[in-house]
């Protein structure tokens, strides 16, 4: 019985993902035949079988990521059962014994080299230097022949050289390998000799990853992986700082309350707070273009137009459709465009030009009940505004306590480009716009 393990594809590569099993349980495999495919974080490869025999058990399914050295499958050697000692004395886990206590580089390597090691340790004659004297050139080995022998675990003393003067050629080695794999006493039979007792074979082996009760292990979905990278990268490149203002939304709330039914009847969708905030932020970006800028190498690109990214959550994660030319739109135009983008984003029907080219982003965790947020900047932009829950709060107005619709607007900004004074001025401008503008005109209701 041969244990197939996750190979090591370099010293710093610690785990790999099974992409595909090229053989199913019960199929026969031959030494060096591609058995499965793995993917590491940098490179994919197909992995050849370490022994001939029958693939009796696949322990790690496709799509799972496991550590280097993890047992992935079991190959039972042809005739292996016969070779196993009756009532074998080897205990559970004894199949690990033939693996020599090697250095870290050896752990889990399933190259021909370890196959050679197994054969050698089983009492087969030690390979060269002592080759039998079969001719004047029988002692000469080319690098290619040495390599082939090493790869296939061939003891060259067993190979009859047919080249000039008895020299062993590539053909001789390959012919030997072929003959050997056709023979029933394949090297795979050797590990079987120290394999587990018959009763243990086929018993379930615990999965390699430690999973406690109540836990579930799922592969990272691709979108999740991209979000993770993007967020981490943003924190690495930016000098993020943060501040917030509290905005009295009474003005907007009353207007919305008054017009929302007529709006819905005419437009076919609900009037939310988002278009109001987007309109107010857009004006502030035009007034303070540094907040709408990008650091590109040693240059600052100041953008005198606004392409507003609107973070939209959907079942797989997060997407940021871009409202192009937000600075050219009034409140109604913005409301329609946001509704259109968000609807199509959730239906995964955005066009490619609708998801890049943003100059600033607004995220809106409010509907989910968040009070205040600390967002991560959407690179390569310089700032992001979070708009949280609008709720009634007691506030002091003209030395009296009043109840008003209030909200926290918070801004994460890149201190490489923006200073606290500018960030505060910008937020104050947004606050002032929301508190003082008459939006009714724009809605034409």
């Amino acid at each position: 019985m041969t244990s197939v393990k996750m190979p090591q594809l370099g010293e710093t590569v610690v785990e790999g993902t099974i992409l595909k099993w090229l053989k199913a349980e019960g199929e026969t495999v031959e030494l060096d035949e591609p058995l499965f495919e793995i993917s590491t974080d940098k490179v994919d490869t197909e992995v050849p079988a370490v022994a001939s025999g029958t693939l009796t058990k696949i322990l790690v399914p496709e799509g799972e990521t496991v550590k280097v050295g993890t047992e992935l499958a079991v190959i039972e050697g042809e005739g292996g059962e016969e070779a196993a000692p009756e009532g074998g004395s080897a205990g559970v886990g004894a199949e690990e014994l033939p693996e020599p206590p090697a250095g870290p580089d050896d752990a889990g390597t399933v190259s021909g080299r370890s196959a050679a090691g197994r054969e050698a340790s089983s009492g087969a004659p030690t390979p060269a230097p002592s080759l039998p004297e079969r001719g004047p050139r029988s002692q000469i080995l080319s690098p290619l022949v040495r390599r082939l022998a090493e790869e296939h675990g061939v003891d060259l003393a067993q190979v009859q050289g047919t080249g000039t003067g008895g020299r062993i050629t590539k053909k001789d080695v390959l012919a030997y390998v072929e003959a050997r794999s056709a023979a029933p006493a394949a090297p795979a039979a050797v590990p079987a000799a120290v394999g587990a007792p018959a009763g243990f074979q086929g018993a379930p082996v615990p999965p390699p990853a430690t999973v406690a009760g109540g836990e579930e292990v799922v592969p990272v979905p691709r979108v999740r992986g991209l979000i993770a990278e993007h967020m981490k990268r943003s924190l690495e490149v930016s000098a993020r700082a943060w501040n917030a203002v509290e905005v009295n939304m009474e003005n907007v709330a009353r207007l919305r309350e008054r017009l929302k039914e007529a709006f819905k009847a005419r437009e076919g969708f609900s009037l939310t707070y988002m278009p109001f905030v987007t309109r107010a932020v857009t004006e502030a970006l035009v007034a303070y273009p540094m907040v709408n800028s990008e650091l590109r190498g040693d240059q600052i690109v100041v953008k005198h137009y606004v392409n507003m990214g609107i973070a939209v959550s959907y079942d797989e994660g997060l997407i940021v459709p871009v409202l192009k030319g937000a600075d050219t739109m009034n409140l109604l135009g913005i409301a329609r465009a946001i509704n259109d983008l968000a609807t199509r984003a959730r239906a995964k029907q955005l066009r490619p030009d609708e998801i890049h080219g943003g100059t600033f982003t607004i995220t809106n965790p409010g509907p989910f009940g968040s009070l205040i947020s600390l967002p991560i900047i959407n690179q390569p932009e310089s700032a992001i505004l979070a708009f949280d829950t609008v709720e009634k709060r007691p506030v002091v107005i003209d030395d009296a306590i009043a109840i008003r619709h209030m909200v926290y607007l918070s801004l994460s900004w890149d201190h490489r480009l923006i200073d606290g004074a500018l960030a505060s001025q910008f937020l104050s401008r947004v606050k002032q716009n929301l508190e003082t503008w008459d939006f009714a005109e724009d809605l034409a209701l």
Partner: protein
């Protein structure tokens, strides 16, 4: 003493299917201990290639849009996601025997090093990313790298360096709108036209240097299928 290597640098674009077939043939020969380590440098007609980990919904354009734009879409055996190849992009397919204990990560790092040095030759400073393969300028990818090993030993696929590439081709495959991790080209970065013809000899030279190979077999014509086996052995 550097190893002897083979350089295939055809004039004119090579269809993806042909290049893919040749690299697999050369790798199989290499696996049998035949032929030499080979670098293929070429340009493709517009083509999108989908690695194993990419899903259909990562193509933003429809098949129809891709066809109408004059490109093909191929599902291939490389790792990674979708990428674009086309005019103005220098594509390199090294078929290198990495031995029985491949240092896969080291191999990818060496490919990145080749591109970083070649870019420096025209005054463009590029760098690696901690999280993704490829060669970058800031947040923008200049060179995509996707590698696969045959039998855990011989390299397939390789790198794609944008020289004068029309970057709007990449619009078709931005997988999600997380404020894109954008792409750029050597020309955009250098502020002048840096062509495939200009970069190819520099990449060849730097590849030879980094991989310690002497390209003493250079071919400017595309090997026909019948001649592949002959020249590989």
């Amino acid at each position: 003493m550097p190893r002897s290597g083979r350089l295939i640098r055809p004039e004119g674009p090579v269809p993806y299917r042909e290049a893919n077939a040749l690299m697999h043939q050369l790798a199989e020969a290499r696996l049998r201990g035949e032929g030499r380590d080979t670098l293929i440098l070429l340009e493709h007609p517009p083509v999108y290639t989908a690695g194993r980990t990419s899903k259909d919904d990562h193509v933003v354009w429809t098949q129809e849009q891709i066809r109408r734009a004059g490109a093909e879409l191929h599902a291939i055996d490389r790792g990674g996601s979708l990428t674009f190849h086309g005019p103005g992009q220098l594509v390199g397919y090294p078929i290198v025997d990495l031995g029985t204990r491949p240092e896969a990560l080291g191999y990818v790092r060496r490919l990145e090093e080749v591109v970083i040095r070649a870019a420096a030759d025209v005054g463009v400073t590029l760098h690696r990313s901690d999280v993704q393969t490829g060669v970058w300028s800031g947040d923008r990818k200049v060179c995509a790298i996707g590698v696969r090993l045959m039998r855990m030993r011989v390299s397939l696929h390789g790198f794609a360096l944008n020289c004068t590439t029309d970057l709007s081709w990449f619009d078709a495959i931005v997988p999600c709108g997380l404020g894109h991790t954008g792409v750029t080209s050597m020309s955009e970065l250098a502020g002048r036209e840096v062509s495939v013809e200009e970069m190819a000899p520099l990449v060849t030279q730097r590849f030879a240097e980094v991989f310690d190979i002497r390209f003493d077999h250079e071919e400017r014509s595309w090997p026909r299928a019948s001649t592949v086996a002959a020249s590989a052995s």
